[in-house]
């Protein structure tokens, strides 16, 4: 990297900082503004550096706002858990039961092929790139808000929001699909399997092929090769077919 062309010198960067932080005196400020007006290349570089600095500040602010929110968080969690007790409890029983079965099956396979499944999983697993979002303009604000976090890799936060939305429409294919992929990306294949199994049940869903693929991936991660293959076969994606042939017919 050090060998690359430098777009801006250290001194120029520091001048931009002084200008943005309003630390220049009158003379310096006019000279700086004159340079901005007359030097196109410097002006373009200034805009880029300003975008970077503003981005850093906004990112830091977002995390600071979550700190500010902590005093309100406790109260929030309690009341929201009370609102949807049956849904959560049922789901966890279901997850617990499937986990027990999978552990049983998984442990058998773990003895035989742990390295192959791990290798293939890491070779093939790329989280779904998500749906485009326009904050404030999109109809489904709450869904998009979680999608933004998902795209930034903040899976836990996205999961929390989507699970809340799922309680309103438990069979929604989009929510079940993305919750499954988010759990898988977050290293929790047990929960991923539970959501993806609901997602694949929606016959008309546009996510069906992808849902079968990720369900296969989640099972592969659990080293349950036969179930993984079974689900991959139901997906028409090219990578599903590739993966099946890697696993051996």
């Amino acid at each position: 990297m050090d060998n690359k062309q430098q777009h801006i010198s250290e001194q120029e960067l520091e001048a931009i900082e002084s200008y943005l932080f309003n630390k220049m005196d009158g003379t310096e400020k006019s000279a700086f503004e004159m340079k901005l007006q007359t030097n196109k290349k410097f002006r373009e570089e200034f805009q880029k550096q300003r975008a970077l600095i503003e981005g850093i500040e906004e990112k830091a602010l977002i995390s600071k706002l979550n700190d500010f929110h902590k005093p309100f968080q406790g109260k929030q969690a309690d009341s929201e858990i009370l609102k949807k007790p049956t849904y959560k409890r049922n789901r966890f029983h279901w997850v617990a039961a499937s986990v027990a079965v999978l552990i049983g099956l998984g442990s058998f396979w773990l003895m035989n092929k742990p390295t192959q499944s791990d290798r293939l999983f890491s070779q093939y697993f790329v989280p779904d790139s998500g749906l485009p979002t326009t904050m404030g303009k999109n109809d489904n604000y709450a869904f998009s808000r979680a999608m933004v976090d998902y795209k930034y890799g903040k899976y836990e936060s996205a999961i929390e929001m989507w699970e809340e939305q799922l309680s309103q429409k438990p069979k929604n294919d989009t929510l079940n699909y993305y919750l499954g992929v988010a759990h898988l990306a977050n290293g929790n294949e047990k929960n991923a399997i539970s959501f993806l199994k609901t997602a694949v049940k929606q016959e008309q869903s546009v996510f069906k092929d992808k849902a079968f693929y990720y369900l296969g991936m989640a099972l592969l991660k659990q080293a349950d090769i036969s179930s993984a293959k079974e689900n991959l076969k139901k997906s028409s994606l090219r990578k599903s077919k590739e993966l099946i042939s890697e696993l051996g017919e």
Partner: protein, 201 residues
């Protein structure tokens, strides 16, 4: 129970609020947050929203206020306060959201959900301006930085700590810290803008 950890200050003047938002003063921002969030939470919950939604709407409004103050779009005029301004933005955002979901429910969103998303996708691509694309690229690039770079840049640009203080925290001398900050910015620039060029955007 967390209240002890965050400091608040009563009786800040409007000028102190403006100055505090421009310099990312934690005390001022915490006071603004703490003083107004409960009102918005009550408003959103009363108007068919959840507390999580209230938090999101309020934080978006907070960021919008912070930006507008810095760009001098919010000016102190007779009778206006920063609290009222922030709450107004939050309420408007919530009203916009309600209007859009109401619209959605009338055409039975459940059944046509996927179809609509595909339509949104095309429309969104058109709507996304160059500025928004560059913003997204910068935000993603920050995530790609190593923890040390990110923390150094945030301490300097957001917390506005001096190079000397940051050097002390990192147990480096001031000159190396200054150089490290420069190199981190170069790297961030590369992640944000060069990658865009490579992707042909």
């Amino acid at each position: 129970m967390h209240k002890e950890t965050i400091a608040y200050k009563n009786n800040l003047t409007q000028e102190e609020f403006i100055d505090g938002l421009k310099t990312n003063n934690e005390l001022v921002m915490g006071t603004l947050y703490n003083g107004n969030y409960p009102k918005i939470e009550a408003y959103v919950v009363k108007n068919s929203g959840s507390k999580t939604m209230a938090k999101d709407i309020f934080q978006e409004a907070f960021i919008a206020t912070w930006k507008n103050v810095r760009n001098d779009k919010f000016q102190i005029q007779h009778g206006t306060t920063i609290d009222a301004y922030l709450c107004q933005i939050a309420r408007n955002k919530w009203k916009d959201f309600l209007r859009s979901t109401t619209h959605r429910n009338t055409i039975n969103a459940e059944e046509v959900g996927n179809l609509r998303i595909v339509e949104d996708e095309i429309e969104t691509e058109k709507k996304c301006t160059q500025e928004e694309k560059s913003k997204i690229a910068v935000m993603k690039a920050i995530d790609l930085l190593g923890e040390q770079c990110r923390s150094l840049l945030m301490k300097f640009y957001f917390e506005r700590k001096s190079m000397k203080d940051i050097a002390g925290e990192l147990q480096l001398d001031a000159a190396s810290t200054r150089n490290k900050k420069y190199r981190c910015m170069q790297r961030l620039r590369e992640f944000a803008f060069e990658a865009q060029i490579r992707n042909g955007q």
